[in-house]
Symmetry: C2
Subunit: 202 residues, 2 copies
């Protein structure tokens, strides 16, 4: 049994596809959001996730030739719906320390946790802001072992993002891929220790 | 006038879409190829571009449920067609040092240069293999200034990849974005010094 659990936030606890907008826009927005985190990390040109998310939305809107309400869509990030099984899944893990390790800013995470009623479930809410580089930099994954005072191999790291699972595994965590969409695993030379389709299968 | 020119290879000199395969496969292959370079660089899990390119092809084939001839498609990377205007565009720059700075391995680049008849046009053919990290790490961009013995601001860096243009600009090059598809510029806080649609407009 793991001695602690670390969860990714966006796509894992919170459903970024729950935002009311054109699916093509949502898909390109999310893709560019991630690309920009990776590119900025490699270029050494840090901007926080709020800025990167808005930049990605602006690109997606321009690319698709759509006039979109930027401010309204950005605000939707503060009230993202959790996946339906999340509250029950977290209930079952009570008694062991749970943490969030996310690209999001602390303000974004706090807003989404409050809005979804999940505040107080997590012993630690950790943002990459502390290291000013994004996942899957190994410096990010070290934040949660430090905060929980546990070794990586004592922790189960849970993410729906295959590349995040790969990064956490490269750091040394035991990893669970929540593969909601039955996608193939990314070819990054790393396999998850555990695969589930919903978080209540943990 | 720039004192030297540095060109990206794939997508800039060589047309990766010239491979005879399903367009959806080519698009996902290319997208995953780039993603894997960024992710491996951030995770510190280096594999060379030949391996990454094959991994990306395997993922794309599996994701689309297609049975594709992996070996044949990989070999196509060794004989990529140059964009039609490339030979004439390079002719016009004769007399100034030209370099290639690419994610590709030296073997991949040599094969494509030989196949396309462009060998001998470049004073330097530089691969990221020397630093074992991919673009847009600034360590990559330093390879070309070192090799040409010029300052970044004396060089025009030319790429069709907007994110590569952003990385080169962040390093200090004067940059030209060859925007063949009239795409919007990526929102990475960087603007190109020059935009062309074809390389013979340089």
């Amino acid at each position: 049994m793991p001695r602690g659990y670390v969860f990714d936030a966006y796509g894992t606890l919170f459903d970024t596809a729950s935002i009311a907008a054109d699916p093509a826009l949502l898909a390109l927005w999310r893709r560019k959001q991630l690309e920009y985190t990776w590119l900025r990390s490699l270029m050494g040109r840090w901007e926080d996730f709020w800025k990167v998310t808005e930049d990605a939305l602006r690109y997606a809107a321009r690319s698709l030739g759509k006039d979109v309400p930027i401010d309204d869509l950005m605000k939707a990030y503060l009230t993202l719906a959790p996946f339906p099984e999340v509250p029950a899944a977290l209930d079952r893990l009570k008694g062991r320390p749970l943490a969030i390790l996310s690209n999001g800013t602390r303000a974004m995470l706090d807003a989404a946790l409050t809005s979804s009623g999940l505040s107080g479930r997590f012993a630690q809410v950790l943002s990459v802001d502390a290291v000013r580089i994004y996942k899957p930099s190994l410096r990010v994954y070290a934040l949660a072992t430090d905060a929980l005072g546990l070794k990586a191999e004592e922790i189960l790291f849970v993410s729906s993002n295959a590349w995040d699972v790969a990064g956490a595994k490269a750091f040394g965590y035991r990893v669970c891929w929540c593969n909601r969409l039955k996608a193939p695993m990314d070819e990054l030379g790393v396999q998850p220790d555990l695969v589930v389709q919903r978080l209540d299968q943990l």
